[in-house]
């Protein structure tokens, strides 16, 4: 019902030459869906931003065990020394020197670090490990839907909105593909809108059948109608607010800015998905990783400041992950090879537990040269789904995944 109202209220639908018959039959809604959601209880407006670090970020040079001899022994030229400007988080751990933005958030209690996150029998292929993280599967399990896609499938509050989950990119990741519902790939509202504005496309029949037992053709038309209407809605809505905040002039910075603008404009999407790529640092890691971590930290700090100003930071949770960490021992090219467990960042204006949440993985007790995981990433997902988004985590992830009590 909500979807139909939404379709009907969109400017595109009303300017169509061929307004579908069944839409005529519906009452014009008194209020727009936006109003409905804005008036909804506060906890319903919580949203999640996922930032994926593609390529396998070296967690050991991100959250640095700067008092641990084993770290310096394993990485004679790659280890970062305290004097290089490590930003201490505790007596044992410090942030990479480039991450001053995150350090400030840490000091304000808006950053939490979960160490040694991974899964049993880790896979060291980028592709497969990312598949595991995106689908929320075990390494011995094959899933064809993403964890956030199944969240959309789970009849969560607002999940019938076609723009409930957005990926800020040209194409859609598996993470946001469910069996019944999928997220939208929106690089910017302007570009997305433009893609649907080909005159021919915008005039195509928009008639869609009722949701039950739809044919493949109906499914295509339904996707088209929802895409066009969403593009229109997001475009109109995004004009409400242009961020005055300064974001870094990088791809991630621009994508975070788009995210911040959509949020501040009152778009009701509950999930945003972004990626920063280039972490596969087999060679000359220092320069590359330093640049990327700086980009990440500056971008997230800008987002936090922007959303703080608009009063949305406390409703927002950011999760930063990578498909795996890297090996403890550096390689011969001043880089690192594919490893296993890694740290995950959580950021929000309303963290229940800020700071370092658990001890880092032991460097003395390795599994064939790799870090042992302590926290299954699916437990993290379960907590976020259940305790932050108010969704049914069992429905999304299956039984037997323990939540991390009191995390978010």
């Amino acid at each position: 019902m909500q979807r139909r109202r939404f379709l009907q209220s969109s400017a595109l639908a009303s300017t169509l030459l061929l307004v579908p018959k069944f839409l005529h039959a519906l009452d014009r809604p008194e209020a727009r869906l936006a109003t409905l959601l804005r008036d909804a209880p506060a906890e319903k407006a919580r949203r999640l931003i996922v930032v994926q670090l593609s390529g396998g970020n070296d967690g050991l040079n991100t959250i640095i065990p700067y008092r641990n001899d084993l770290y310096y022994k394993a990485r004679p030229t790659l280890a970062l020394k305290e004097a290089a400007g490590i930003l201490p988080l505790s007596d044992d751990l410090g942030l990479h020197p480039k991450m001053t933005g995150l350090k400030a958030l840490y000091d304000q209690g808006q950053l939490a670090v979960l160490n040694a996150v991974g899964y049993p029998n880790p896979d060291r292929s980028h592709f497969r490990s990312m598949d595991i993280w995106q689908t929320g599967s075990g390494s011995d399990q094959l899933l064809t839907t993403g964890w956030l896609g199944r969240y959309l499938d789970s009849s969560c509050a607002g999940c019938d909105l076609p723009y409930q989950a957005l990926e800020v990119d040209d194409t859609l990741s598996l993470a946001l593909k469910g069996q019944l519902r999928k997220g939208l790939a929106v690089k910017t509202p302007g570009k997305f809108h433009q893609l649907t504005q080909s005159r021919y496309l915008s005039q195509l029949s928009q008639e869609t059948a009722p949701a039950a037992a739809i044919s493949e053709l109906d499914y295509l038309y339904k996707t088209l109608a929802e895409t066009a209407a969403s593009a229109d809605y997001l475009y109109q809505k995004s004009k409400v607010h242009t961020s005055a905040a300064t974001y870094p002039n990088t791809d991630l910075g621009r994508n975070l800015k788009t995210t911040g603008e959509l949020i501040t404009s009152g778009v009701e999407s509950r999930v945003y998905y972004l990626a920063l790529t280039g972490f596969d640092t087999h060679v000359r890691q220092h320069e590359q990783q330093g640049r990327l971590l700086g980009e990440l930290s500056d971008g997230l700090a800008a987002l936090a400041a922007d959303l703080q100003k608009s009063g949305e930071w406390a409703n927002t949770l950011v999760m930063v992950f990578s498909e795996f960490g890297r090996r403890v021992t550096q390689n011969a090219s001043n880089g690192t090879d594919h490893g296993t467990a890694n740290n995950v960042f959580l950021l929000s204006g309303a963290l229940r537990k800020p700071g370092l949440l658990n001890a880092p993985a032991s460097l003395a007790d390795l599994d064939q040269g790799d870090l042992r995981y302590q926290v299954d990433f699916r437990s993290l997902y379960a907590s976020i789904l259940s305790d932050w988004l108010g969704a049914d985590d069992k429905l999304v992830l299956g039984p037997g995944i323990e939540r991390l009590a009191g995390l978010v």
Binding site: F127, D131, P162, D170, T171, Y200, L204, E216, D280
Partner: protein, 507 residues
């Protein structure tokens, strides 16, 4: 009516009808016989461009001092690349091993690009076959098996060998196909049978053979997996891509597998699997979902499965039964499959006789739509059906004809994380732009739409679409055509209009 049924056959048993196939207007039964005849010859796909010769191999190769344990192999980040084409010096246990970590960044990049280019050349060559080869049924069936025996490697030569094996046996008997695939280095490596040794069995291959390739879940126990894994110990390959049975790694003890006890080997296990009635049902169901309808109909499947068993799993015989069954031509089975990106693009080329100057960028669009040959998402293959469609893939599908035939501006940036081959690429390198140079042979296509200009849109709609066009969309196409100045431009506008419809996504 006959034409619609004929088109249905050509779309499902191949990559769509050429204009001359429609003009010939054979009865479907006759066309099927022709398709079977044309698919009988097999020639391997081959080109020097596929053979990734590592220019650094000879220089960089280092001799392993001791057998490399699996854990260390992992440490070197990805499967070790040994130059398998080099002959082994006598007395050597293993081929010299080129470790990726020994490469300089430039050498590593060069190597990655060499591998990527070889895969791209292989994909392009196979797409070319799909679009133009008379052996349509062989290529279509091979595409099915390519997804069924899903396998990713970093070695173009291994993947090519597996593809040609699949193409060769695509219409033979399934036990032959299964055995041949099971013995290929690509599969042995992908499913870790190289690590499956007497002392430390690795169950991956044994499990997937039953779960994904032959029986499906619920038709075997965990004990059967363990026993089968023991039977496959010692299945390995040498430096020249030949299967070898390493007797010393094989567990020769007695095993009990699916009720059979004895000193079973891998061949025995595969043969026992093929005795299970579940195998025929599992395979025919999967074939039915690919060739007929995503929703399996047991009333159609059971008799086919029984015949498949009786024929000793003769795939060509099964195909003939399937494509000649009356229910195959039921309206409920026509125009109800969402074309995969490969079917869409190969079909577009074939059905319109499109000439392309440069097929390489088509692979970029294919990837943006979610299907890269040789790179299935995982061992379960491409899920297909509605999973092909999301907002961005649908928009690209609908604009692809305008991109290719009208040079519509549309740049799509691919993701960085979709393969393990060239992981570090710049945004510019990942952005696909239209440099295909695709040509619609308008003169040759004139007669496809009939002689009367006014009827052309309707006539072409029934030739190009497998579902009836919505009247309001037909009006839209007619409007667009009416604005064109010349008959040729009219035809072009009509074609692009029809190809840009959601209806065209179905076969």
């Amino acid at each position: 009516m006959n034409s619609q049924l004929l088109q249905h056959l050509y779309w499902r048993a191949g990559f769509g009808p050429r204009p001359e196939d429609i003009a010939a207007g054979l009865r479907p039964a006759k066309a099927l016989r022709q398709l079977l005849r044309d698919a009988a010859p097999y020639t391997p796909i081959e080109s020097p461009a596929f053979h990734y010769a590592d220019p650094l191999g000879a220089v960089m190769a280092v001799q392993p001092t001791a057998p490399v344990p699996a854990a260390t192999a992992m440490a070197a980040d990805l499967p070790l690349l040994s130059p398998r084409s080099a002959a082994l010096p006598p007395g050597r246990l293993a081929a010299p091993v080129l470790r990726r970590r020994d490469l300089t960044p430039e050498q590593r990049k060069q190597q990655n690009e060499g591998i990527r280019d070889a895969f791209a050349a292989m994909s392009t060559a196979w797409m070319e076959r799909m679009a133009t080869d008379p052996g349509q049924l062989r290529e279509k069936m091979a595409l099915f098996w390519h997804g069924h025996f899903a396998c990713r490697t970093r070695r173009p030569d291994d993947s090519l060998q597996l593809l040609n094996t699949i193409r060769q046996h695509a219409l033979g008997t399934f036990p032959d196909l299964l055995l041949a695939v099971s013995r290929k280095p690509a599969m042995l490596q992908f499913l870790n049978n190289q690590q499956n040794k007497k002392e430390h069995p690795n169950e991956n291959f044994a499990r997937e053979v039953m779960e994904l390739f032959t029986l499906g879940r619920g038709n075997y126990s965990e004990v059967d997996v363990q026993e089968a894994a023991r039977a496959f110990t010692g299945w390995s390959y040498d430096g020249q891509n030949n299967f070898v049975f390493r007797e010393r790694q094989h567990d020769a003890g007695p095993k009990t597998f699916l009720g059979h006890t004895g000193n079973l080997g891998g061949e025995d296990v595969l043969a026992i699997i093929m005795q299970q009635p579940a195998a025929a049902t599992f395979l025919v169901t999967k074939l039915y979902r690919f060739f007929v309808n995503d929703v399996p109909n047991p009333a159609h499947i059971e008799p086919l499965a029984a015949a498949f068993r009786r024929s000793h799993y003769d795939i060509a015989d099964l195909a003939e039964r399937l494509f000649s069954a009356p229910w195959f031509y039921d309206a409920a089975n026509v125009g109800v499959r969402i074309k995969s990106p490969v079917e869409l693009i190969a079909g577009l080329r074939r059905t319109l006789g499109v000439q392309v100057d440069n097929a390489l960028p088509l692979l970029g669009y294919q990837k943006a739509l979610g299907q890269t040959l040789f790179m299935p998402p995982n061992v379960a293959g491409w899920p297909g059906g509605r999973s092909w469609i999301d907002s961005s893939s649908l928009l690209l599908r609908l604009q692809l004809p305008a991109i290719l035939f009208k040079n519509a501006a549309f740049a799509v940036r691919l993701k960085d994380d979709e393969n393990d081959i060239t992981p570090q690429t710049t945004s510019k390198e990942r952005t696909v732009r239209n440099t295909v140079g695709a040509h619609l042979p308008l003169a040759a296509l004139q007669h496809l739409g009939g002689t009367r200009a006014a009827e052309q849109p309707q006539q072409l709609a029934s030739r190009l679409l497998q579902v009836p066009i919505r009247p309001e969309n037909l009006a839209l196409v007619q409007q667009a055509a009416a604005k064109a100045a010349t008959p040729e431009e009219q035809l072009r506008a009509t074609l692009i209009g029809l190809l840009s419809l959601p209806e065209y996504q179905l076969s």
